[in-house]
């Protein structure tokens, strides 16, 4: 029984966290609320550390290390509340890797591996297609602003659109978490190429498992901050951390995070080994991590009292990001519904 990341991966996780803490300190995340700018340094760092290349096979400029390094990076991204076009890394890259034609892979994967291109995804769209030209609107698209390539669904198939084409209109949308850029993309008879694979579920599961790690990273940082604050802040002659109302709240947050982390780790294992129980494991990771981060962000803000409500505190960074990550890929209640359907149908996990 070895239910943990290997020693190598644990070292990598540490490195990633420290590197991102430096490249993307919380003060930068606070500035991003006003600027809405992507943290290019942090993005380049992920490229340098081989993270962007790890989900890509060596044939196409990747390092073929698979999904685990991306999961660990996601946790560090969550921890630092970094402003990064994660949809490219979590979702688009594995989708092109699994469903792209050799030409598409050859054209895009090396650029995605190096970080010189980013991609966005709207596989739940229903666009019109005629003669390999696409028309319609997708919105809101995460990481669409500045993406070089988009993957969409039309005529019940996946298509790849080169965003350099003229007939693509991008409109930035106002996001409650400006660190996660959202936009509306309008295609007007835009040329597109058909993807050869059509199984979008694997990449979707890849994405939600990565987001689960990001949620766990954010929730953990929020909890750590609240622990620190409650050990220092005094009221009625004692640190507030000595009061049961605070203690029990923080214990409940920790409990939710630990349970979500266990689900995320199992889902990562399923992802890494190609286990058949990935859909069940990914839904469990998504549902539990979403609830854990929403709860952690909301209640650690409360622990900070009035200070937690100021822009100068860190609390709102977690509060915003928790909500943004809850919205992307749909709310926890939907994933619980899918999970229940599988369980009632008798599905089980391998271990």
């Amino acid at each position: 029984m070895e239910f943990d990341f290997s020693e190598d991966y644990r070292l990598l996780a540490d490195q990633l966290r420290r590197a991102l803490e430096e490249a993307a300190p919380l003060e930068a995340a606070r500035k991003t609320v006003d600027t809405g700018q992507i943290n290019v340094t942090a993005w380049e760092l992920l490229g340098e550390m081989g993270i962007l290349a790890s989900g890509i096979s060596t044939d196409f400029g990747g390092n073929g290390l698979g999904p685990l390094p991306v999961c660990l990076a996601a946790e560090a991204i969550g921890w630092s509340v970094a402003a990064i076009p994660t949809a490219s890394l979590y979702h688009a890259t594995p989708l092109i890797q699994s469903c792209g034609s050799p030409e598409q892979q050859d054209r895009w994967l090396p650029a995605l591996a190096s970080g010189s291109a980013t991609a966005c995804v709207a596989t739940d769209s229903a666009l019109a297609v005629e003669d390999d030209h696409i028309t319609g609107v997708i919105s809101p698209v995460s990481g669409g602003t500045g993406a070089s390539v988009a993957i969409v669904r039309a005529n019940n198939q996946l298509w790849l659109v080169d965003m350099a084409e003229n007939a693509v209109e991008q409109e930035a949308l106002e996001s409650r978490d400006p660190g996660r850029q959202l936009c509306r993309i309008t295609f007007r008879n835009t040329p597109a190429t058909r993807m050869t694979g059509d199984d979008a579920d694997l990449a979707l599961n890849h994405a939600v498992v990565c987001v689960a790690f990001e949620q766990i990273g954010g929730a953990s940082r929020a909890l750590n901050g609240a622990i620190d604050y409650s050990r220092e802040r005094r009221a009625f002659g004692q640190t507030i951390g000595s009061y049961q109302a605070i203690k029990h709240k923080l214990a409940d947050i920790w409990t939710k995070i630990e349970i979500a982390r266990a689900h995320a780790m199992y889902a990562a294992w399923s992802l890494g080994t190609g286990a058949v129980d990935l859909p069940l494991a990914a839904a469990a990771a998504r549902a539990s991590a979403t609830e854990a981060y929403l709860f952690a962000a909301q209640e650690t803000l409360q622990v900070h009292g009035g200070y937690g409500f100021t822009f100068e505190s860190d609390s709102h960074l977690f509060y915003r990001r928790a909500r943004a990550l809850a919205a992307c890929y749909g709310p926890a209640v939907e994933w619980r519904s899918r999970l229940a359907a599988r369980l009632i149908a008798g599905e089980t996990t391998k271990h």
Binding site: L173, F236, I246, Q302, G306, G308, F309
Partner: protein, 406 residues
């Protein structure tokens, strides 16, 4: 049981309704009115307050000799119920008339009352309240702002926080420490502070949601004449408690958060991927649960009004309202945003009609679980003052303040 006004109150209500129809012509829409800026708000509020003062509606329960209405608290609440149907500027005078003036009447010298009360009621002067500090929130008695006696004046240095309306106030109630060698609660004194005096600097606090509804107030060598002192030196804690007791009379005030009616309205209109939101059993159950709370709290307000009518003061049980409503607003806002699917990550203004109020409850709901007593403090208050449970052991109240580890 009888929900009707007494004959005399019914007459009062009819008169008030008539007067309002004549003088406050803009019928109010749903939700709070947003004023473009403080200057516009204050000008409108001043005008409206002076109209009300002329008609005797400015401070209905306060004595006539200072320009009050000489009526009952019940009548004041009746007027407010009727007034809330109109788009008139609320908020600017609430702290002054609801908390500061009653404190002045209870504690002030004749000279103080003559100087300040009538001008506050007429709207000529606006008041705020300077109690909380960065290191004294729930534990107000831990405040550090110092007032030192120098001749006939007090010299004040320190910092206050969460001061609503400080930016447009003329005067404020200030709680400061005048004796650091006394115990925590015994070294405080209550003053009137001139908000235009040299050394008073007001800075807006930027909030989570980008808004600025509260201020920090920095006090550097601010001079307060001894005649502006409201309590004996060291008697400030009891004075401040008087002020906070009047806060409880602010019965049933709308704290501007969404409730079950918003949830019903929006979910009846909202189509999701699985159909109309109001057909979703999960949404329906939360509609019912939220209604049970909202409606229950409204009924509890009826009970409080009943007690007021009997001449009783509202007790700490009033704490229920904010405790229940603020958390629930957060919950409803999260539910509604979830129903928007991926669009739930967008700002309210991008989501359509009514969604800015949802976003405000998402963000300001978090603030309302803290402001005016955190959830945790309110539960303590209920447990200790309503249920009679013992206070927790503490040792910060018996040592001199300057020896406290804090």
């Amino acid at each position: 049981m009888d929900f009707a006004d007494s004959p005399i109150d019914a007459q009062f209500r009819a008169q008030a309704r008539e007067w309002l129809a004549a003088h406050a012509p803009v019928t109010r829409g749903r939700g709070r009115v947003a004023w473009p800026d403080d200057a516009t708000l204050v000008a409108a509020a001043r005008e409206w307050q002076s109209k009300k003062a002329a008609a005797g509606y400015a401070a209905i329960a306060l004595p006539r000799e200072y320009g009050g209405g000489g009526g009952t608290t019940t009548q004041q609440i009746i007027f407010r119920q009727e007034e809330e149907r109109y788009d008139v500027p609320f908020g600017v005078y609430e702290i002054g008339l609801g908390m500061c003036v009653p404190t002045l009447l209870a504690l002030g010298s004749d000279k103080v009352k003559e100087r300040f009360v009538a001008r506050a009621i007429s709207g000529a002067e606006i008041w705020c309240q300077l109690f909380s500090e960065p290191a004294a929130g729930s534990d107000l008695a831990a405040l550090r702002t110092k007032a030192v006696k120098t001749g006939e004046n007090w010299l004040v240095d320190g910092q206050k926080v969460w001061t609503t309306g400080a930016q447009f106030s003329d005067y404020g109630l200030l709680l400061a420490r005048t004796d650091s060698s006394a115990t925590k609660h015994a070294g405080l004194t209550l003053f009137i502070i001139d908000m235009r005096a040299p050394g008073v600097e007001v800075r807006p606090i930027r909030q989570l949601d980008g808004g600025v509804e509260f201020n920090e107030v920095f006090l550097s060598g601010v001079m307060i004449p001894d005649e502006f002192r409201l309590t004996v030196p060291g008697g400030g804690w009891a004075g401040a408690m008087t002020t906070l007791m009047f806060e409880r009379l602010n019965v049933g005030a709308n704290i501007g958060l969404i409730d079950s009616s918003t949830l019903i309205d929006i979910s009846r209109r909202l189509e999701t991927s699985t159909g109309r939101a109001s057909d979703d059993p999960h949404v329906r159950d939360i509609i019912a649960q939220a209604y049970l709370n909202d409606r229950g709290l409204k009924l509890l307000t009826y009970r409080t009004l009943t007690n007021l009518g009997r001449g009783q003061l509202p007790g700490p049980e009033q704490s229920i309202t904010k405790l229940v409503i603020a958390s629930q607003a957060q919950l409803i806002a999260n539910l509604l945003l979830d129903l928007r699917g991926q669009e739930g990550a967008l700002v309210g203004s991008a989501l359509g009609d009514g969604w800015e109020a949802v976003e405000r409850s998402w963000s300001f709901g978090a603030a309302m679980r803290i402001a005016g007593g955190t959830d945790e403090i309110l539960r303590n208050v209920i447990a200790e003052r309503v249920l009679g449970l013992p206070a927790a052991k503490r040792d910060d109240t018996t040592r001199p303040f300057n020896e406290d580890a804090a």
